[in-house]
Amino acid sequence: MIGLLLILFLSSLLFLAVFAGLAGQGRWTRAFVPGFLICSLLLGLGIAGSCFLNGRTINLDYSGHLPFALGLSMDRLSGFFLLLICGLGIPVALFSASYAEHYTRANWKWYWSLVALFILSMVLVVVASTIFAFMVGWELMTLLSAGLILIEGDGEDRRRSLFLYLVMMHAGAAAVFASFLLFVPYAPALTLAAMRAAAGSLPAHLRVVIFLLSFAGFGMKAGLVPLHFWLPKAHGIAPSPVSALMSAVMLKIAIYGFIRLTFDILGTPQIWWGYLIVVVGIVTAVLGILYALAEHTLKRLLAYSSVENIGLIFVALGLALIFEARGLPILAALSLTAALFHTLNHALFKGLLFLGAGAVKHTTGTLDIEELGGLLPRLPGIGISFLIGCAAIAGLPLLNGFVSEWLIFKSLLHGSVLEPDPAVPLLIGAVALTSALACACFVKLYGITFLGRPRSDAAKYVVAAPENMNLALVMIAAACILFGVHPGVALHPLSVLAGTMIPNPTSPPEIASISRMMPLVAAAIALLVIVVLLLRKPASRSVNTWACGLPGLTGRMQYTATSFSKPLRSVFAAVYRPERKMDLEPPDEPYFPVNISYRSVRTTSFEKTLYRPIVDGVVAVARQLRRLHTGNIQTYLLYIFLVILSLLVVLRFA
């Protein structure tokens, strides 16, 4: 029965894609398409909830006449990630209903059609029970998101970013593919279940190769340093609701794949796997947030912050592997729960923030935070929700981000107590640094964008945000608060889920204790706030901001985002490697120049040192090969001649 519902859900998405592509564009269609999408996502949410919370499983096999079965199956893990997709999909659909309104007729169709298919492809990945289905979904996910990116223009820069995105994703997919196919000699059926059964009989070196390949492949998709530099580019240029889906959900699909392969299928890890992941994760987190701090474009900043959060999730995953390898199932479950919960939380607040960025773009027309300011009174609904998102991502208590970070800290602390070497406690310092930097980063983002005075006309004369947008943001913000104040709602089922991945006798005690503590703290703070508000004299008078007694304070005189982050940037100059260039005109008159131009560029050293040499090398080889094609027919005949000769020789003497 529930299997049929799953098929109904998938086909409704497919139907919608076709319908949106073909239908006319009357008012009825414009309302129907988002509405239908939301309804079918609600259906998906129901299925996901039933699997995730009640542990129902689905197993469907459709082999058709393909040599490879296109099977679907669901368990708690799939259910959780399906929940994520559908849960985020609903506000995104709601938001898009307004966002896509300004598109041209053709773009509107493309948009909805591709969004439906994009969601479908992600669903396919998480419900796939065969490698074939998984890879179909996996590849389509990239492809469809690339299509969505192209909807909002196709200038030179966008194309370059898109190219980078596609190529990196394809290389990652190849790694994932290889890691799956390495099971083939042992698991003839090519289903996840068969792989799980075969995992025990794999030789040790093959397990290592599989693990490394999957780490590279899924890590590429998730945006781990040093494979991350495509991420801000791609997420920065997609339409905002799509960025939200990409950052909040698609990256999580990579997490899903990694958990599925490493925890569920491969099992029994080695300790160094965990260390590898933890180290990569922490480097990702620190560098991600540092880059985010220096960014002044809303969406690029958010994208870098996604890199950071993915790093944190991987830290937790690595810890779980370490604990599992050490035979500490309860702690492993704790870390895995932390990772899963942070996955959920990041999906929520990053979705919220990207949608907020979309609303800002929609209402002001710019994403450059240096041009913004003072948006809160103009866009109250969006401003407040965005604030909640910022506070959550900064990890402040009473919001969901805190709880998962706390769980990560707690796992690290357990690790520190148990581990003989001092590397793990140092990680606590690194995570703390990350979270403090995140705090600074989002103070900057929110303060400069929404508070103070408008810095340009774009920010001053703002179109009112459509109700749909407000509603979508408020929905997610409410979820952030719910999971922050009462984390038990999510944590208990998640710990059950973690228990299915790692066989362990009991749920970790931290789950219960934090679930009890957070409502208490929330109540205490709420009580205090109410008391203070009741006691405080409400009388206040509005005056001009103090400007040292001088008149004419303007928005341009405020601190900018650049100046805000300047102190931190100079402290971490080693990471940014800024290149400053100052041109004086005329050059030999340092004291009385006519013109001074100043430029400061951050070099993304990963791109320079990692990506460039590979690309240049391949192209150089290709150029050399090209020179062999002289155009002279006799050269070509010579090649054939030489092949015959060498084969003769080989045959004679081999």
Partner: protein, 314 residues
């Protein structure tokens, strides 16, 4: 039930005695500087006055501006609920509350930074930016210090750590504790905005961090800010006492024990306060760009402390 009352009392003590602590420090500094100085009760009078004044709000400010002090105050007070003062049990405890405690303080910082930016002048932005710098660099050593102690005590709860420390011999002071104490002292100075990181008494824009943030505030809001700032100072001092010198706390809830605990607590606090006053009077404020170096010292000490846990423990 008795324990519950005590817990509430010690939390209220932290909150209500905070302005007094500030008054004492001012008085001490005045003495060292051979001045008469204001009364130690002066901060209370100040708060009273501010609470009854009309509030001036910049015309660009939003509700963030007005709610920030309230939130900061509430979070700081709740943070106080986690500290053991008179006996090694707090109003709220949780295995892992060391992290929660720090994050609760972070709420206040986050709110105040936003409130500062909401004013719409460059002073607020400047203060906020500098605060972000200090906080970002202070957080890691703070966490490391707490972790180091947590590793030794094998627990993540402030109260439990205090209880564990009490059971140790006072003269068996470990290297970890010394290093951690030094690091925490630096962090506390930075977090509470005291000399040499920040000067709480100046309004000179080149040097100020915290004062720049609150420049636009007046009336009840300013009162809340001042008060929470005072509480924060008190919290960090109590944290140091609780983590490094909890001896004297009464392990059993008896009136005598509690009285003794209160006495020793006051004594230890007095020592800390005198030390602070001496330092503040004898040291010059650091240049803004020398502050990161100062905090790096704290980080280095904290890292050493963590490494020494591994060396000394086994």
């Amino acid at each position: 039930m008795m324990g519950f009352v005590i817990n509430i009392v010690q939390m209220l003590l932290l909150v209500l005695a905070a302005p007094l602590l500030r008054g004492i420090i001012s008085k001490l500094k005045a003495w060292i500087q051979k001045r008469q100085g204001a009364s130690v009760w002066r901060p209370y009078a100040n708060l009273w006055k501010l609470f009854h004044k009309e509030e001036l709000v910049p015309n660009t400010a939003t509700l963030i501006f007005r709610s920030a002090p309230v939130v900061a105050f509430a979070a700081t007070v709740v943070a106080a609920a986690f500290l053991p003062v008179l006996h090694p049990a707090a109003f709220l405890t949780l295995d892992g509350d060391i992290f929660l405690f720090v994050y609760l303080l972070a709420i206040g910082r986050f709110a105040m930074s936003l409130g500062a930016l909401d004013g719409g002048s460059s002073f607020g932005g400047m203060g906020s930016s500098r605060e972000a710098l200090v906080a970002a660099l202070a957080e890691a050593p703070l966490f490391l210090v707490l972790t180091a102690l947590a590793i030794l005590a094998r627990t993540g709860s402030l109260s439990e750590i205090a209880a564990w420390t009490i059971r140790q011999n006072f003269f068996d002071v470990s290297t970890v504790h010394l290093l951690a104490l030094a690091a925490l002292a630096i962090v506390a100075v930075a977090e509470t905005g005291r000399i040499p990181v920040d000067n709480p008494t100046t309004h000179l824009e080149l040097t100020m961090i915290h004062e720049a943030m609150v420049l636009e505030y007046s009336g009840p809001s300013l009162a809340l800010i001042e008060w929470s700032q005072a509480i924060k100072l008190n919290l960090l001092a109590t944290l140091m006492i609780g983590l490094f010198a909890p001896w004297g706390m009464s392990l059993t809830v008896t009136p005598l024990g509690l009285a003794a605990a209160l006495g020793t607590y006051a004594l230890k606090l007095a020592c800390l306060v005198i030390g602070l006053a001496v330092v503040e009077s004898s040291v010059a404020k650091l240049r803004m760009y020398a502050v990161p170096d100062f905090l790096r010292v704290a980080s280095a000490l904290a890292i050493l402390a963590v490494i020494f846990t591994a060396i000394t423990k086994r």
